[in-house]
């Protein structure tokens, strides 16, 4: 690569951060779209077992350019020094998203949870921040030259500090863009990725999880069988974000003769339907099931040639993404309980003067910091092109167990007040349990 090219890319990357910041700071973004206090009431009932709706008709995805081969973001150079400081650009993004999460997400999280929906304006605003195009290579209108799992983690963490369910709804389309950018064919990239770089990005979902106990993403029940040149998919996917709104899916299925593999599926495909599947938490994401009945796909729908390594990497990257959300929510718990236990008095003094209370706060601090560092490590290894199976797995164990514990202690420290919806800790209790249940759905 020539020096000018390198410089050009660096400038574009820098420009991206600046654009981001400008958008945030500009009164335009903050004022134009007011988050309505009363959300449109989404019809979302649990009682309609068997009530299915077809997936959205969706746009026509068309390639606007022809690629000679798949475009890929490069890995960063292996870094030589130990460092826990995000680079300048990451710090800017982090700050911007933090502000957004505090001003726009936290304030509506309770309503969004009750309604099982995130306000569309909020999703649009978040999308304007560019959170869904981090994985898109420059050739296809993206802004990041190098893979940016760490950046994705920092953004996921910051969004989830506002609310985990809204973070899920916000980031779900980006997972599809990232999946196609990492493992899509040239044709898939050309057809689908440009849609993710504009303002009108499609809702989309990466569906791996299936509804059964002891789900193992490496042993899928959703099957893809060969029929001539075509693939025919059957199965059920669980806890998909906003499935009824999605225009595009990446769906994991056990492919004949290949093992678990990813397929690109447009929402208009016949045999696709959705049904509501509200859960304990993540409710602002409007979770639902995606049902596949004889969904016929052309041979070109298969991603990465069905290579197992690609699928396994997808599973690992998703785990890191969920860890990032758990870290953000755990931090939210810590930040919330500290002033509470300092202000709440019992027996004539703040309850935080008691070790039984204070030590619980210490443990939240210690374990959430451990979760964070383990998650950063996994993401940083991914960016450097190192194997990160071990690190992703350990970060997930930590975020699953400590995250749940933190959710529980958050409620416990507020006592009865924590149990009622006047405070957000009960929502975080429900959301943090998701970190160990979710597979797929998000990517770094």
């Amino acid at each position: 690569m020539t020096v000018t090219q390198e410089k050009g890319m660096a400038e574009r990357s820098q420009g991206f951060a600046l654009r981001w910041l400008t958008r945030l700071a500009g009164s335009d973004l903050l004022d134009r779209v007011r988050i309505r206090k009363q959300l449109e009431r989404a019809v979302f009932t649990t009682s309609k077992n068997g009530f299915r709706t077809a997936t959205a008709a969706g746009r026509t995805f068309k390639a606007t350019q022809k690629l000679t081969g798949p475009a890929r973001q490069s890995h960063g150079k292996p870094r030589s020094l130990f460092d826990i400081t995000p680079d300048e650009e990451q710090q800017m993004l982090q700050e911007g998203v933090r502000d957004f999460a505090e001003a726009k997400i936290r304030t509506v999280a309770g309503d969004a949870d009750a309604q099982c929906a995130t306000p569309p304006e909020l999703l649009a605003q978040a999308n304007e921040l560019g959170v869904n195009m981090l994985g898109v290579p420059e050739e296809l209108g993206g802004v990041m030259q190098e893979q940016s799992a760490v950046t994705s983690v920092l953004i996921g963490e910051a969004l989830a500090h506002g609310d985990m369910g809204i973070a899920y709804a916000t980031l779900a389309p980006g997972a599809v863009a990232t999946a196609i950018a990492h493992w899509g064919t040239a044709e898939q990239e050309a057809a689908y990725l440009p849609a993710f770089t504009g303002d009108d990005t499609p809702a989309a979902a990466l569906a791996i999880l299936e509804p059964r106990p002891l789900f193992d993403p490496l042993k899928l029940e959703t099957a893809a069988r060969r029929d001539g040149e075509d693939w025919v998919l059957d199965g059920v996917k669980s806890l998909v974000a906003r499935p009824g709104d999605c225009e595009l899916f990446v769906i994991a299925a056990e492919a004949d003769g290949l093992g678990p593999a990813l397929f690109v599926v447009e929402s208009g495909a016949s045999g696709l339907s959705t049904e509501a599947e509200p859960a304990m938490g993540l409710r602002p994401a409007g979770t639902g099931r995606l049902l596949l009945e004889d969904v016929r796909l052309p041979a070109g729908a298969l991603m990465a040639g069905g290579k197992r390594e690609a699928y396994v990497e997808c599973v690992q990257r998703a785990r890191v993404a969920w860890c990032a959300l758990a870290v953000g929510t755990a931090q939210a718990v810590l930040d919330y309980v500290i002033p509470y236990v300092n202000e709440r008095t019992a027996f004539g003094e703040p309850i935080s003067n008691r070790q039984g209370v204070a030590f619980a706060v210490s443990d939240i601090g210690i374990e959430s910091d451990g979760m964070r560092l383990a998650t950063y490590r996994a993401a940083s290894r991914a960016d450097q092109g190192r194997d990160f199976a071990r690190e992703a797995s350990l970060a997930r164990r930590l975020c699953t167990q400590k995250g749940m514990r933190i959710g529980s202690d958050g409620v416990q420290l507020l006592g009865g007040h924590g149990f009622v919806k006047e405070h957000p800790v009960e929502r975080w209790y429900r959301d943090l349990r998701a970190a160990g249940v979710m597979e797929g759905a998000l990517l770094v």
Partner: protein
């Protein structure tokens, strides 16, 4: 730029430390566990070698340099200096044997104290000697502000009187850094540390302890009876500054807590690696990609323990890295010590359980590591003290509010 891997420039150092652990510590690990109180003479050669190594190199294999002015190469302001390199080598050496590391000549906690706060004159006078640390007393453990040993100025000398227990390497060291109060009515601000030569006639060895673990390391109890030391033996300022309070004396601990956390991390890793081998011999494979709960229960338990290890490890590196970069790290140092200490105990005991009699008997070192582990959650501030420090920092509380 976020990167939590061992920096490349410290790879040779950690490789060297690992070799020492494998070739020197492990072969004599059981020997000195059994032969408590006998001096591990094998360490003399090693200590000289390490002295040679740290001269000229920007690294220390033991517990010496924890000065804030550590050198490191810049990378846009980011420094990886001697705090990180020390922590990394301690991890490797304690993977070998923590008791033997604690017995390393000239690598005592007293050396850390001297390295941290001594004046240049003191460094010159006491440099190259082995220094132990004497803080704990029969009536003052975690509550080190309530120590009763006194130091009275008499002409050009301080006269020390009191009783000290749990002095690591106290019988073997050349020097003992003794904490004593200049004025017991003035509380913690009056507590100062004094360097006492081991052969000082006023310093009487009472006995050596028999312990649960780290038996290679001797633990001495002393009586100080009209023990006279020159005025210059006082470390730091002789002023009783009630505003600065305990800071001076406690400063050492901000620097040494990550070192003890590193010891715990090293022992934990030793137990995990051995257990993984045992499990593989038993036909249990640990798979990082399959969900933990879909695997053998032993594999799931292993993953849980390794996850705690990962957190402890990274928290420890974080605390050291912050010290290298002159960031205040008292909170992170205590977090690391708390997490690493409890993880070490939980994991080593868990490993014994997983390995059954193979873990519990003296045929392997697993049971020894489980015994060694417990002290790491106690000395340099117990688990409970660390939680107290963390809580005070997070909640913004004073020691009188949160006691």
């Amino acid at each position: 730029m976020i990167n939590l891997e061992t920096p490349k420039k410290f790879k040779p150092l950690t490789a060297q430390a690992h070799q020492v652990a494998t070739e020197v510590f492990r072969p004599i690990s059981r020997k000195y566990d059994v032969a408590e109180h006998s001096y591990p003479k094998e360490l003399d050669m090693l200590a000289s070698m390490i002295d040679g190594m740290s001269e000229g190199a920007d690294s220390d294999a033991g517990a010496a340099g924890v000065r804030r002015d550590s050198n490191g190469n810049g990378d846009g302001g980011n420094r990886n200096g001697s705090n990180l390199s020390t922590v990394l080598s301690i991890i490797e050496l304690c993977w070998g044997d923590v008791g033997l590391l604690l017995s390393m000549p000239r690598q005592g906690l007293g050396n850390s104290a001297i390295a941290s706060v001594a004046t240049d004159e003191q460094l010159e006078h006491y440099g190259g000697k082995w220094a132990a640390m004497a803080i704990t007393e029969p009536e003052a453990g975690s509550d080190s502000a309530s120590i009763r040993t006194t130091a009275e100025l008499d002409g050009d000398e301080y006269v020390l009187n009191g009783e000290k227990i749990f002095v690591t390497s106290g019988d073997r060291a050349d020097l003992i850094v003794v904490w004593a109060s200049l004025d017991r009515s003035k509380g913690r601000a009056a507590i100062k540390s004094f360097i006492v030569e081991r052969d000082n006639p006023g310093l009487k060895l009472d006995r050596l302890e028999h312990k649960l673990g780290i038996r290679a390391s001797d633990t001495a109890n002393f009586t100080l009876q009209d023990c006279r030391v020159p005025k210059e033996a006082l470390l730091g300022s002789p002023e009783i500054d009630t505003k600065a309070g305990f800071g001076g004396a406690m400063q050492t601990f901000d620097n040494t807590r990550p070192l003890v956390a590193a010891m715990a991390v090293g022992v934990t890793r030793a137990a995990l690696e051995e257990t993984r081998k045992c499990l593989e011999e038993a036909g249990v494979e640990v798979d990082y990609d399959r969900p933990a709960l879909s695997q053998h229960a032993a594999a799931a338990r292993y993953l849980e323990m390794e996850a705690d290890y990962e957190a402890a490890h990274l928290l420890t590196l974080q605390a050291a890295w912050m010290a290298d970069n002159a960031k205040p790290n008292s909170l992170q140092a205590s977090m690391a010590k708390a997490k690493a200490g409890r993880t070490c105990v939980d994991v080593t005991l868990g490993c014994v359980e997983l390995c059954g009699t193979v873990g519990y008997t003296e045929n392997r070192l697993l049971e020894k590591w489980a015994r060694d582990a417990k002290i790491l959650d106690i000395f340099e501030g117990t688990q409970q003290i660390q939680l107290l420090i963390v809580a005070r920092q997070l909640l913004g509380k004073s020691s009188s509010e949160l006691r």
